[in-house]
């Protein structure tokens, strides 16, 4: 018997900022749409364990797209003369366009890192469009642990190798070897300058300290889960953010770093499944 996984991948054309983008996404399961947002400089493969988890896919239609420039989603035509930079506005537009184009009705959105950060903007601007929002490694602001993202894109340092090496420290020591290196492989494959372009949003444009207090969780529950070994978005960053948002629910996850869903899927599901059950029960 062939060992086929339930994950199916397709390409979709989206108009973003007036340009055609060919966007790759994968999905598995049926039920409540659960749109998953990958971390900076990585791609939707980070969610393959969720998509292969029957406890999730029994009730949720799990979808994960590769952002343009990431994974199997190419940059738009003309990219060769541009520098890729992710902005808050562009990122919100991408997510909302993906959801409306596919006709997903009041989905749950789960995002990690940059994806966790943008969830805060989705909560502020579009709360009524979502059944619930889940931010992993999410904060309104993180004090930087790097002050020169130029190392990620220059001719005398291999961008993939240095990205993987930098990210290795954000994985908890307890995470299994296989999933640890699987997580790093995605970083090693990232296109030149893409991780750096994402970090513009993570580090500069995505400073939401002045606005997270506007989030109204009565329209849409907001869950924030952060790993204890994450020194990029620390548990303190998430707790400080949550303290400004009435009704936000916080969990600090043991033995997890910056990539819960891909570095240690078995540990992460212990924290995620109760959240997904709660969201389902609240309908």
């Amino acid at each position: 018997m062939a060992e086929l996984e339930p994950i199916v991948g397709r390409y979709l054309t989206l108009a973003l900022a007036g340009r055609r983008h060919r966007v790759y996404f994968e999905e598995a399961g049926q039920g409540i749409p659960l749109v998953c947002l990958h971390t900076a400089g990585a791609d939707g493969r980070q969610f393959r364990h969720l998509m292969n988890d029957e406890a999730v896919t029994r009730h949720y239609r799990v979808l994960a797209f590769d952002m343009p420039w990431h994974g199997k989603s190419p940059p738009p035509a003309g990219w060769q003369d541009e520098e890729y930079t992710l902005t808050t506005r562009g990122y919100v537009d991408l997510i909302m366009t993906f959801i409306t184009t596919l006709g997903l009705e009041r989905p749950v959105v789960l995002g990690c890192s940059i994806g966790g950060k943008i969830v805060l903007e989705l909560a502020r601007l579009h709360a009524k469009s979502f059944r619930a929002l889940i931010g992993l490694e999410s904060a309104d602001y993180q004090a930087p642990w790097y002050d020169d993202t130029g190392w990620l894109h220059r001719s005398d340092v291999h961008g993939g190798e240095v990205s993987g090496a930098l990210m290795s420290g954000l994985i908890a020591p307890q995470s299994p070897e296989e999933t640890r290196w699987d997580t790093l492989w995605m970083y090693m494959m990232s296109g030149p300058g893409v991780f750096k372009g994402d970090l513009f949003f993570y580090r500069a444009d995505g400073d939401f300290r002045d606005r997270v207090a506007q989030i109204d969780t009565s329209h849409c529950p907001l869950y924030l889960l952060t790993g204890e070994y994450d020194f990029s978005c620390t548990p303190e960053d998430t707790l400080r953010t949550a303290a400004k948002i009435q009704g936000a629910r916080v969990t600090i996850m043991k033995e997890i770093g910056h990539f819960p869903m891909s570095e240690n899927p078995a540990q992460f599901r212990r924290y995620l499944l109760p959240v997904l059950d709660e969201i389902r029960a609240a309908r």
Binding site: Y146, W151, V157, H158, E161, A165, G169, L170, P173, F231
Partner: protein, 122 residues
């Protein structure tokens, strides 16, 4: 922390996968454990020389400096959050990384694994 760095040549050079990972790395870098300075000379992924300071006019490419207590936590079998990575330690104010960082960044995984190699002894 006497003893830790003396074991580095055996720990690194005896690990074929690690030597392969560092095969493009040739440099001499400084590690400070509190007041004690160490110069570590690497040639194509092999630790050729480990010297204990003080040094008077020796050149090095980059330096990693931390108090002895911080290194001790870094080398725990399962280090606590904040002490599990050199950049976790720099962000937390427990370590400093200085000098010409190009050789470090170009060989970052190798250098990180080299510095963490004593962890395996526990």
């Amino acid at each position: 922390m006497p003893g830790v760095f003396e074991t580095l040549p055996a720990l690194v050079n005896g690990n074929a996968a690690l030597v392969r990972r560092g095969r493009y790395c040739t440099t001499t870098f400084l590690v400070e454990v509190g007041d004690t300075a160490w110069l570590i000379s690497v040639h194509e992924g092999r630790v050729e020389k480990v010297e204990r300071g003080p040094f008077l006019m020796r050149a090095w490419s980059f330096a990693v400096r931390a108090p002895a207590a911080a290194w001790q936590k870094f080398w725990e079998p399962v280090p606590a959050p904040g002490y599990h990575d050199i950049f976790a330690m720099t962000k937390g104010g427990h370590a400093r990384v200085e000098g010409n960082l190009q050789p470090l960044m170009a060989n970052l995984r190798f250098i990180k694994d080299l510095l963490a190699a004593p962890r395996r002894r526990a």
